[in-house]
Subunit: 388 residues, 2 copies
């Protein structure tokens, strides 16, 4: 396999962007990445696009040709992937493999979702399509309720506390203060979280990531030509992927996301690094409990000790393993199809040392962790400032 580098990144602001359509969001992010990478449109040989459900949200499928057309590269090879909230993580993996294995030399990978043109109950319905329709969603289980089950069991099994969950949201809101692209740029307190309305006990409103519009894109190329385009290429050194049962109730232990464990193992092996080598991570905190699970399943701490890790402030910027310096899904926003690539945008920005007031110092190796549903799919990538 050839070495692969990220040479450009782009991202829209995340939020309720009522004046922008899906296509506008994607093109805005793509042009930023193209400018950042100093490539011409004609240099791009293929598009890989992650989108969960434009069919449901904006009555638009055939998302690949649509976005290629509006970017001005009609005719180009275009692949759209869907894996619920991991849609663009999967797109990135395919793009990475296509360059590593020699199918293309330069490709653009993006993710986009436009979620706010419908009511909140409709969005909740659309999101529930990532669960098992017949056994979960049909019977009324939505994602807050499924993650509430996980949280309750984690509290029972490991003594994780309500306050520890709240601290995840507090940390991520604090980080987002310094991210101009984030949806929520205001500090919150533990009390704010504990007093916010209950969504699905024990999860409250401020434990949940929001419904968002947004897009993120990156340009990758074979490493040997990366310095023609960028003074600060960031190398992709590991990629792992896994799936799990679609329904949460089919797992032996719902406090473990087995797909995360498996995907991380693959990525660490390929990158020849261990969890302790990771300097900064963007993990999939769709709910606060999901970030606690990620700490454990990625190996940043032992199983059951995720709550302790947040108590010890080890995942703050400045801690042993800073997590979600961007603000995470919780505060940066979670346009589901864009999230996987948006995590990569943040890690590349961190490894370049361009993250401003949210910069993790001396970040050499970064990790992204993107899940679909209750962890029915997972993609993990590892990045480095230097070639391995």
């Amino acid at each position: 396999m050839r070495d692969v580098a990220v040479i450009g990144v782009g991202m829209t602001k995340f939020g309720e962007l009522w004046d922008k359509q899906l296509r506008d969001l994607f093109v805005e992010a793509a042009i930023q990445a193209i400018d950042d990478a100093n490539v011409d449109l004609k240099d791009i040989q293929a598009l890989f696009i992650g989108n969960m459900s434009a069919g449901l949200w904006v009555e638009q499928e055939h998302v690949g040709p649509l976005l290629a057309d509006y970017l001005g590269v009609k005719g180009i090879h275009t692949y759209r992937t869907e894996s619920a909230c991991a849609s663009s993580g999967v797109a990135f993996r395919l793009a990475f493999m296509s360059v590593a294995l020699g199918l293309y030399d330069i490709v653009l990978v993006g993710g986009a979702e436009k979620m706010t043109d419908v009511t909140a109950p409709e969005s909740t319905h659309h999101l529930a399509c990532a669960a098992d329709r017949e056994w979960e969603a049909f019977n009324g289980a939505t994602f807050p309720s499924l993650f509430a089950l996980i949280a309750r069991r984690h509290m029972y099994q490991y003594g994780t506390t309500r306050e520890q969950l709240a601290k995840v949201a507090v940390k991520n809101h604090k980080n987002a203060l310094y991210n101009p692209k984030a949806q929520f740029r205001r500090e919150i307190t533990i009390e704010d979280v504990l007093e916010s309305p209950i969504v699905a006990d024990p999860l409250r409103l401020l434990d949940c990531s929001p419904i968002s519009d947004g897009a993120a894109t990156v340009i990758i190329c074979k490493a040997e030509i990366a310095r023609k385009f960028s003074d600060t290429p960031v190398y992709v050194i590991g990629s792992g992927m896994a799936t799990d049962t679609i329904a949460l109730h089919d797992r032996p232990d719902i406090t473990v996301l087995y797909a995360t464990v498996k995907a991380a193992k693959e990525a660490y092996k390929m990158a020849r690094v261990e969890p302790k080598d990771i300097d900064v991570a963007e993990v999939h905190d769709c709910f606060t409990i999901a970030e606690i699970l990620a700490y454990e399943d990625l190996g940043f701490c032992k199983k059951g000790e995720g709550g302790k890790l947040i108590d010890e402030e080890e995942t703050e910027i400045g801690g042993r393993i800073p997590v979600n310096p961007s603000g995470g899904l919780k505060a940066k926003g979670h346009p589901v199809g864009a999230t996987g690539v948006a995590q990569i945008v943040e890690i590349v920005t961190q490894l370049r040392g361009e993250a401003g007031k949210r910069q993790v110092s001396n970040a050499e190796i970064g990790l992204t962790h993107n899940i679909g549903g209750t962890g029915s799919s997972c993609v993990v990538h590892i990045f480095s400032r230097s070639k391995r």
Copy 2:
């Protein structure tokens, strides 16, 4: 690139299958392919799944992990692609490349769609999501009307007749008589077509492919191990892909599907064959006019002479270039996400010499042609009984 072979095929009956869900259909087809290929479940390293819009039709996204789970291979790498009616053609291309380039040795590629759980107007809406929502579908343009525009222009520009269009449907219904998996197994006459209700002038009901449920799967592997599993491996010798404007009105000439021309050129070049070398083809006859366009854009005849080709019966089984011996989308059925792989199932069956009464004699090289929307995306593959 390594040589790649198809070693197993599977397909459900196509039709209104009210007692089967999306997951049932996929698993049924997958088990057939697994049995046909003599592989174990544990030999399969990844799934590539094409599905246009389970979100809209059955309120189910996250289609990859769902189908992996129900097939009994949870954990496995799983990729779902969407490119409207070319969704599983794209899945096949990615699967082929992944094996050709060494990412995997044995993978399963499938397509599935469950379209009949909703009303016909709802299905028409969902299909229209493959067009440009803002400029076409929003203003009332559905696919029959868009292909009607193409048909009317083709008649004006090249003198194509109503009867020539009808002959496509008559031929495909005749072929489907001998396909036990086909949705419509009854002969129709030119008069039947011309007297059927108008859908969008000049297209009538019997010019249109039906709404269908169904799934199709194939198993591919690196060619060097193919004979361990199959006495009749069929080799993938060409793959081409292209996109075009999402909206029909943005094309310079609506009687040409430029994406077909481009994808075919790539596939012919890779396979080192010319149109005259193709012994049998499955083309995307979503409407009768689309088969006429395919004749021309794939190079089976000159531009504008598609009507003449059907008049001369050259695309009948026994003609110079038999097209759609399976019955095509028109008579075999068109569960949109399954169609691309279903075409491959038919070509592999033909090249193996196992097509029974619809067998094209001495078929050595076959082609599949799968489009999305009005040709906003296209995938062409070429297969051979012998390695190239």
